[in-house]
């Protein structure tokens, strides 16, 4: 079952440097069908959907390690088995001295057209990841998926791919 949320709403969560939730707003809790107690202190992957390719998460962490922002289309898994698509804006949180103290994600409701395009790409990447030796967790599968991702982007960066979908589908 697919769940959506309001155009005017933003799903907000924060994690520490290890990826453990330190904050989740009420839109997050409602959409993920979680309580605050079930969320804070838990690892971020409690909402990870099996349709999400590992290559996209690799890109996410590579980008955050460079202290840069990332926009990504992500499908998340709610505790009740529903799923919901978001356009996530993930950024490092800095303290006054410029040190990264955690990560922050603001998620907006995506356009259907963008979701369809992202879902088609991710299905291909997941298939590539599962074909490798060791199944979906193997390094070979991730390498194949990573290579395929860049082939499919055709010279664009993932960032440009996301913005092509976002600017084309209305803001």
């Amino acid at each position: 079952m697919e769940r959506t949320f309001g155009d005017d709403e933003i799903i907000v969560s924060k994690t520490d440097l290890r990826g453990l939730f330190t904050y989740a707003n009420d839109v997050f809790l409602r959409t993920s069908a979680l309580t605050e107690d079930e969320t804070v202190g838990q690892p971020h992957n409690i909402i990870r959907h099996p349709d999400m390719p590992r290559a996209v998460f690799k890109l996410l962490w590579d980008t955050l390690k460079r202290r840069e922002e990332l926009f990504a289309y992500v499908v998340n898994l709610a505790a009740d088995g529903a799923h919901y698509w978001v356009l996530a804006h993930v950024t490092p949180s800095f303290d006054g001295a410029g040190t990264v103290v955690g990560y922050h994600s603001s998620r907006r409701r995506p356009e259907r057209r963008a979701v369809d395009a992202a879902a088609a790409l991710y299905a291909e990447l997941r298939a590539a990841e599962q074909r490798g030796p060791g199944g979906s967790g193997g390094q070979a599968g991730l390498d194949a998926s990573w290579k395929l991702l860049h082939e499919r982007l055709g010279g664009r960066s993932y960032d440009e791919f996301v913005w092509d979908l976002t600017n084309g589908g209305g803001r």
Binding site: R109, T166, R171
Partner: protein
């Protein structure tokens, strides 16, 4: 937990709650947007109050992250990265739209700058190509002009030499005329003497009477011959004078022609120096000037392309 406490404890608990709220707001006001209000109670009012405060912090946090990143992206030329207005309401949305409009303006100006860069580079290419063509043509023309000037110089030198040989020839003609005149003068003297001798012979023949009659005829013939010789000499003198006058005219003409050719030769030498350059004055020739022009333009064009 708070709710379970006795009624009499309420003021202390409210104070505690207000302190927590003030602490979170102070942190946020000081720029620490990681601050969020923890649970302050289970009553619907407490849950709503916490949700409202955190929603304010969430939207402020998102706005600050977005605006900084959107402007950085625009400054780096990544104009596709927009400020997403979705999820932003009221003044937040208005400010996000304003940043978006500024982003558009920056993009438009970046496009204009890029266009003007392209135009400038195209102009540099055209200038370089034009100067290259001109300098090649000038170099070719200079080579041809240099060859022509050298040919003209040689020709002028030969013409002057020829004219000088002509002057010598005409000069020797004058000398020959003078010698002829001397020879004719000598002949005239001989004729004059002969006439005198013929006169004396006529007188002597008359004195000899009949015996001298034949001799008188001979003396008359000798006198006629002397007179004819004198007449011929006068004619020769006249012709020699004509030859001498013609020679003088020829000398004048030849000298004038020679001077003209020398002047022409000087002009041609000047042209050759302008074309080939002059070692004495250190002036650069046309070919060198064309090369210098090309070098200067190449340097200029390189600067234009780099800027």
């Amino acid at each position: 937990m708070i709710r379970r406490r006795a009624e009499t404890q309420q003021p202390t608990e409210d104070t505690e709650l207000l302190r927590t709220l003030a602490g979170v707001c102070r942190r946020a006001a000081a720029g620490d947007l990681e601050a969020r209000l923890p649970a302050i109670g289970d009553s619907p009012a407490a849950i709503e109050a916490r949700s409202a405060v955190n929603a304010l912090l969430d939207v402020t946090d998102a706005f600050v992250r977005e605006s900084g990143a959107a402007l950085s992206a625009a400054a780096e030329g990544r104009f596709h990265r927009r400020f997403l207005t979705r999820g932003m309401l009221g003044s937040f949305r208005h400010a996000a739209s304003t940043i978006g409009a500024a982003n558009d303006a920056m993009q438009a100006s970046a496009v204009r700058v890029a266009e003007s860069d392209r135009a400038r580079l195209a102009l540099a290419d055209q200038l370089e190509s034009a100067v290259l063509t001109v300098s090649e043509q000038v170099a070719t023309a200079a080579t041809e002009m240099g060859a022509s000037a050298n040919g003209l110089s040689d020709f002028a030198r030969e013409a002057v030499a020829g004219a000088e040989r002509g002057l010598t020839t005409v000069g020797s003609l004058r000398t020959a005329s003078d010698q002829i005149r001397n020879a004719v003068d000598l002949i005239n003297q001989v004729a004059s003497q002969t006439r005198l001798l013929a006169l004396n012979a006529t007188i002597e023949a008359a004195r000899a009477g009949e015996a001298g009659r034949g001799f008188s005829v001979v003396a008359g013939e000798v006198k006629v011959l002397a007179n004819e010789t004198s007449e011929s000499s006068d004619e020769i003198i006249g012709q020699v004078a004509t030859v001498q006058s013609a020679a003088a005219d020829a000398i004048e003409v030849l000298e004038s022609v020679t001077e003209s050719i020398r002047e022409m030769s000087r002009l041609v030498t000047g042209i050759a120096a302008a074309v080939d350059g002059s070692h004495d004055s250190g002036n650069a020739g046309l070919s060198q000037l064309a090369e210098v022009l090309r070098g200067e333009v190449s340097r200029f064009v390189t600067t234009v392309r780099a800027s």
